[in-house]
């Protein structure tokens, strides 16, 4: 089950490790991505801190940490092939994985229905 932020990030939980990416709505709005900058493994981020940057042909956009935690993995494939984020934003186009610092922060995220209501 995916959870979302109002800034169009999605999060998939597996134990206390979350996989994070940008939503299909976000990739569509951005257009063809040409560059992705990911955080370093080991970086500790507070919720809403800038975690990554995605750049389309026209502009750069920041990706925020949906929850606080430590980066435990990043998806090197999207660095080599930014278009993967457009093609598979929820699958192979994931951006990074983080180990949650505080499971209670999950309550602040949107569920599918709440997110679809704002993804217009």
């Amino acid at each position: 089950m995916l959870r979302y932020t109002k800034d169009h990030e999605w999060l998939r939980l597996d134990g206390d490790v979350a996989t994070v990416g940008i939503t299909p709505f976000a990739q569509e709005k951005l257009g063809d991505l040409v560059f992705v900058e990911l955080p370093g493994v080991g970086a500790k981020l507070a919720r809403a801190a800038v975690a990554a940057t995605v750049e389309s042909v026209k502009a750069a956009a920041e990706v925020y940490a949906p929850v606080s935690g430590e980066i435990v993995a990043v998806n090197e494939k999207v660095v080599d092939e930014p278009g993967l984020v457009n093609a598979a934003p929820i699958g192979d186009g994931w951006l990074f994985k983080m180990k949650l610092a505080d499971m209670a922060e999950l309550d602040g995220l949107l569920d599918e229905e709440a997110y679809q209501a704002i993804a217009k």
Binding site: G31, V34, K58
Partner: protein, 382 residues
């Protein structure tokens, strides 16, 4: 107090076509314009260089300048008073790139001028067209009628397959060379067609009555090699071709010499020539030609993958505090598969191969000064 409502965006004659083709529309120079179609900017860019891209550029200003005396040379002389170009020497059926200059030697707009026999046709930037019209009226009204075209579309067809696609409707275009201009009939309407464009590829720009524009575009689009292209790809194409975007790479604070556009300052208008000077900013510009300018527009090749965009300051080193210039345009060089940019750099640091640093989101990214264009140009000169 109530919020003032934004004025409605203008539509070109092709607005319905764009929406029907699934374009994503964005405001540009007061118009609702397609930034991309469903294919996306990258595919549209690559298609233009491989086949034929169809662009709506009707938002740009088209104006005719007609001599009151009936003698075209009078209009040419009048135009020469506003630009360092050779308009008296511009033959009928030819087009030329020109610059409106300011009293300080800066650039008011860049434009194309065509000799149509009884008048000159000017094509100017959309964002500048009202100002350019006022500029022409203020200086030329006595000698010329200034006639903005209010009922014409402007369509660009660019790429290696553009000639074949357009020749299906007007076979005579095959004999046109780069910068030729002709009047021809398309769908029963007289159109002005030039062999020129803004992509670095061979191509044509077609001025056609608004009522016929959609018919022309739909007909061209039935050809499988022709695809609609939005403003997003238009920008990445021109960037690779090393062409300036007025408002980014050229403005009132940049002289033609600083902009590496000395070639647009015609020989007959230079110091010692028959019609030397006589345009706004002539003293400053001719002095810069003689002595050199203190900065220059150059190409920049980021060494990494991150695009470097307009506004990024440039430095000689990773920690120095004094910038040596700034990026004015940049993005992904789609055909290159790598980022590219252009900017102004102080003369001492502007030689090709020089390694500079662009500051992007607080980090200094290495870039190398390089020649423009980034891609091979394919103008049909012979």
């Amino acid at each position: 107090m109530a919020e003032p409502t934004a004025s409605a965006l203008k539509h070109t004659p092709l607005y319905d076509l764009h929406v029907g083709l699934g374009a994503r529309m964005v405001p540009f120079a007061g118009y609702d314009m397609p930034v991309q179609y469903p294919a996306g900017i990258i595919k549209e860019h690559l298609h233009t260089r491989a086949a034929a891209g169809l662009f709506d550029v009707s938002h740009m200003g088209q104006l005719d300048v007609r001599p009151r005396s009936g003698r075209l040379d009078d209009a040419a002389g009048a135009l020469e008073a506003l630009m360092p170009a050779d308009i008296l020497g511009l033959r009928r059926g030819r087009q030329r790139y020109a610059l409106f200059t300011t009293a300080d030697g800066g650039v008011l707009d860049d434009l194309m001028v065509s000799n149509l026999g009884d008048r000159f046709r000017l094509v100017v930037n959309a964002a500048c067209k009202d100002g350019d019209e006022a500029h022409l009226r203020a200086h030329l009204s006595e000698q010329c009628f200034i006639e903005p075209l209010r009922d014409h579309a402007l369509i660009a067809l660019q790429g290696p397959k553009a000639e074949a696609a357009l020749a299906a409707f007007a076979p005579e275009i095959r004999s046109m060379r780069f910068m030729d201009v002709r009047t021809l009939s398309l769908f029963g309407d007289p159109c002005i067609v030039s062999r020129s464009g803004y992509t670095g590829e061979d191509g044509f720009e077609i001025s056609i009555r608004a009522g016929k524009a959609e018919e022309l575009c739909r007909a061209l689009l039935t050809d499988q090699t022709v695809a609609p292209i939005g403003l997003g790809a238009r920008d990445s194409l021109r960037l690779e071709a090393g062409l300036c975007l007025y408002g980014s790479d050229l403005d009132r604070t940049t002289t033609p010499v600083e902009a590496a556009l000395e070639w647009a300052i015609a020989g007959p208008r230079r110091a010692g020539a028959p019609r030397a000077g006589g345009f706004p900013g002539a003293e400053a510009i001719l002095t810069q030609i003689a002595r050199g300018a203190s900065r220059r527009r150059v190409g920049l090749e980021p060494e990494g993958r991150a695009p470097v965009r307009g506004g990024a300051p440039l430095f000689c080193g990773e920690t120095d505090s004094a910038s040596v210039g700034a990026v004015t345009s940049g993005g992904l060089g789609v055909s290159l598969g790598a980022p590219g940019a252009m900017g102004y750099v102080r003369i001492g640091s502007a030689r090709p191969g020089a390694r500079l640093f662009a500051e992007v989101r607080g980090k200094r990214l290495p870039v190398r000064v390089c020649q423009l264009p980034f891609v091979t140009l394919h103008y049909r000169r012979t």
